[in-house]
Symmetry: C2
Amino acid sequence: MSLPARVRITEVGPRDGLQNEAVILSTEQKCQLIKLLIEAGIREIEVAAFVHPRWMPTMADAEAVLAAVPRGQGVRYSVLIPNLKGYQRAAPLRPDEIVVVCSASERHNQANLNRSTTESLAEFQQVVALARHDHLPVRGAIATAFWCPYEGRISVSRVCDVAEAYAAMGVQEIALADTLGAADPRHVRELVLAVRESTGLPVSLHLHNTAGLALACLVAALDIGVERFDASIGGLGGCPYCPGAAGNVATEDVVFLLERLGIQTGIDQAKLLDAARYVQMLVGHPLHSYRLVTAGTIV
Amino acid sequence: MSLPARVRITEVGPRDGLQNEAVILSTEQKCQLIKLLIEAGIREIEVAAFVHPRWMPTMADAEAVLAAVPRGQGVRYSVLIPNLKGYQRAAPLRPDEIVVVCSASERHNQANLNRSTTESLAEFQQVVALARHDHLPVRGAIATAFWCPYEGRISVSRVCDVAEAYAAMGVQEIALADTLGAADPRHVRELVLAVRESTGLPVSLHLHNTAGLALACLVAALDIGVERFDASIGGLGGCPYCPGAAGNVATEDVVFLLERLGIQTGIDQAKLLDAARYVQMLVGHPLHSYRLVTAGTIV
C-alpha cells in the first residue's frame, strides 16, 4: 500500500452540503460554521455557489459569505461557478480558487445546468480565460464522472474528452465527481489514471457515499497518489438532479481514516465533530457520518 | 490492484447476526431465512452457536437448526463452538465446519467467554483434536484481533501468538475478527500478512462496520489475496461485550462491491435483498445496509 505523506481536504459543506437543504441558513450561521471548521484546522473551504438565486435560494448570499469569511489566516476559499455571470459576480470578491463544473453525462448536465455540455464548455472557455487574466486558479470539475442516474455507467473516454477540453482551456486541476455515489475502487483507479495520462494534470476526487464505497474508493485513490479530496462536514449534501444520491463523504470520516493510515491532516477531530454537531442542529435533521455516531466508541 | 478471481462469502447472520437480537426467532423462522439465503446463492452459512442457552437464549435451538437445514444442495454449514461441551452437542449433527473463537485481548475473552485466553486455548486443543478425529474442518477465529474496547489497539505479535497456538493444534484456517469494527486498511494488510507468515495458513476476515471502514478493509484484503470473508445479511450483528460495536458488514453490500470489482459471487442480489427484508421484518427494527436503502438508485 503506497500512501501520500500529505493529503489536502477541501471542505465543501458550506456549498455542496448546504445548497440542497430545505432550511436556508443565514449568512451569519454559515460564517459561524466556517469559523468552527477553521478552528478545527480545515484550510480549504468551498464556501458558496454563484448560481442564480432563483435556482438555488440557499446560495443567494454567495457574495455576502465570500465577503465575510476571515482572510489572512492561511485559509483558501473556493467557489463554484456555473457560468460567465457567476464568474462576474464572484471575481471582484477574490476567491482563492474557482471551480467550474460540467457533467460527463449529457442528460445530467441538461438537468443540472439547463444546457448541453458543449454549451457549458464553450462558456467555461471564456470563464477560464478571464480567471487566468485575473490570476485565479481554476479546478475543472466533472460531475457524473463515474455513473449517471439517467445514462448509467459513463465511459472513461467520455470523461477524458471533457477533461481534455478543460486542460486545453488552462485549468490547474481536474476534479472527478462521483455525483451519484456509485463508483467502486477499481473504477476510480482506472479513471484517475486515464485522466492523468490524457491531461497531464493533477486529479482530485469528490465522492458521495450512496453505496457505502466512498472510503474504499478514497483508499484506492490514495494508493495511486491522489492527494486532494472534497469532503463535507457531517456528510451533508446530495444533488437535486441525482435522485437517490446520498451525501458527500463526511469530512470527519475521511480525517479519521487518514489519521488511522498515518497520514497527518493537521485537523483536530474533536473540534471537527463540534462543527458537525453545530450544522446538524442548524439543518434540523440527523446527519449520516460514522464519526458522529461512533466517536465515543472508537478513538 | 490485484484481485482474486473467486471469493467465498460465509453468511453469519443466522449466528452472529441473530445472537444478540432482542427478539428470539423461532427455529422455523431461522430455517426460512436460511432457505432464502440459499435461494439467493449463498453456499456457506454459520447457522448457530453452541453456547449455553443461559448465556445466549437466542441460540438455544442450535441443535434443532442444524438438524433442520437442507442438506445435499452443496451448502456448507458451520457452527460456533465456545468450549468442549459445545463441541459435544454439535458434533453428532455433523456440521461441515466448526469455528472456535478466542480473543486476542485478555479482557475481551474474559468478558465474552468468562475465562482466560490460556484456558480457552487449552480447551480448544481438546476440541480440535476431537474434530480432527471426526474429520471436521476447524476455523480458528481470533476476536478483537485489531482493537479491543477495553485494551485498545492489539499488537500484531499478540495476534500471531494466538494464531500460532491454533496452527499447532491443526486448524485449517485462521479467521481474524475486527469485533469492534475499528480496523483500517493498512492495519488489515499488516496483520493478515503477519499471520499468514507466522502460521502458513489461509487467513479469512470477519469485519464489523462501526467506523464505516469495513468495505475499505475488505478491498485491502482482496489486494493481498484474501479469498474468504464473513458477512451478515442486512448488516445484523454486534457483540454484547464490545460496547458500541456496529453490526457485521452487510452481505448485500459485500456482494455489490465484489460484483462491481468484477469478482463473480454466484449470488443473486435481488434475492439476497429479499432475505435482508425478511429478517428486517422479523427483528422488527431497521437494519443498516447500504443496499437496503439504495438498491433502487444504484444498479
